[in-house]
Symmetry: C2
Subunit: 183 residues, 2 copies
C-alpha cells in the first residue's frame, strides 16, 4: 500500500538507485518498513511510469552502471496528499507471541527448545539496540544543531530504541515465565 510513500520519503531525504534504496531499507527505513530489492525495483518502475520519480542512468567507474532516481514535483504532491490521510492501523504479525501461547501444547522438551530460541532472539535484538544507540551517537550528538528533518529522523529513531528496550524487558519476563514451567 505505502511502499511507494516510504520510497518517496527515502528519495527526498537522499536520491539514489534501486540498489541503494534496498540497502537503506535493510538498515534505516527497514526499522519500520521492510521491502526486498525486487519489490523496490518493480515499484520504482511503476512510479517512474506514473511520473512520481525521474530516473537517469549514471555511469560509474569500476562498477556496473546504475539508474538513480529523484522525486518529481508530482511525486512530492502525491506524498503530501498521503500525509494528510488518516494513519492506517498497522498489521501486526508476531511469530514469537504465537509460539509462546503454542508452547502450552508442547511438552517440557519443546518448551526448553523455545527457551533457547527466545535467548537467541533476544541476543539479536540486543545487537539491534546497540546498533541504534551507536547510530544515535553518530548522527545526533548531544548539543548538535538539528534542522526539522533531522529532528524528525531522531524522534523516529528514539521510537526504535524505545521499542527494543521494551522488547528486551519483555523477553526477560517471557524467559522467567517459561522457566517456571520447567522445574
Amino acid at each position: 500500500m505505502a511502499l511507494e510513500h516510504a520510497i518517496l520519503v527515502s528519495l527526498l531525504e537522499q536520491p539514489g538507485s534501486g540498489y541503494e534504496l534496498a540497502r537503506r531499507f535493510e538498515r534505516s527505513i527497514g526499522r519500520f518498513w521492510t521491502a526486498t530489492h525486487q519489490q523496490i525495483y518493480r515499484v520504482l518502475k511503476r512510479m517512474e511510469a506514473d511520473g512520481w520519480v525521474v530516473g537517469r542512468d549514471v555511469g560509474q567507474d569500476g562498477r556496473p552502471d546504475k539508474r538513480s532516481y529523484e522525486v518529481s514535483a508530482a511525486g512530492r504532491e502525491t506524498l503530501t496528499e498521503w500525509l494528510r490521510e488518516p494513519v492506517q492501523p498497522e498489521a501486526v504479525r508476531h511469530d514469537l507471541a504465537v509460539k509462546i501461547r503454542g508452547a502450552a501444547f508442547d511438552d517440557a522438551a519443546g518448551r526448553a527448545r523455545l527457551v533457547d530460541e527466545v535467548r537467541r532472539y533476544r541476543a539479536g535484538h540486543e545487537e539491534t539496540l546497540a546498533r541504534y544507540l551507536a547510530g544515535e551517537r553518530r548522527d545526533f550528538p548531544a548539543g548538535g544543531d538539528l534542522d526539522t528533518g533531522q529532528r524528525l529522523q531522531h524522534v523516529v529513531l528514539r521510537g526504535g530504541i524505545a521499542y527494543e528496550r521494551m522488547l528486551l524487558d519483555w523477553l526477560d519476563d517471557v524467559l522467567e515465565t517459561l522457566l517456571k514451567g520447567l522445574p
Copy 2:
C-alpha cells in the same frame, strides 16, 4: 505463512467456527496476528483438506448453522514441528513512522494536520491499553492460581500492555517534536 499456526493455537485453546475465530482474531489473537474472515475461512478449508483440523456442522437454534473445528492429532504434530523451528524476524510496516519522516517535506499546515492525526491515533491506543488492562484484571486476578497455558497467555498479554505503554510515551515525544517545528 503462519496463519495456520495461529489458528491451530487458537483452536487448541478453544475449538470453534470460522466466524468465532475471526472474532477472536479481532480481539485476543489479533494483538499479534491480524486476519480477515475470508482468509480464515479459506485457510480452514485447506487445513481440513490436509487433515490438520476436523470440522463438523453444528445446528443452532435461533441462528444459522455453523461449522465448528477442532485440531486433529496430525495438526498438533504440525504445530509442535513449527514450534521447534527458528523464530522468523517479524515484518514491520509502520505507517506513522513513514509519515513522521515525511513531514519534513510538508509545510507547517501539513505538520499541523499530522499533529491532529497523531493525537487521534494516540487516543485509540489509550483505549487499547485500557482494554488490555481490563482484560488482565478480569482474566488474571492477583493471587489467582494459573496453569501453564494461562501463565503463557498472561505473559503475552503483558507484552501487549508493555507495547502500548511504550507507544504512548513515544507518541508524547513525537507530539513534542512536531510542535517544536510550529512556533
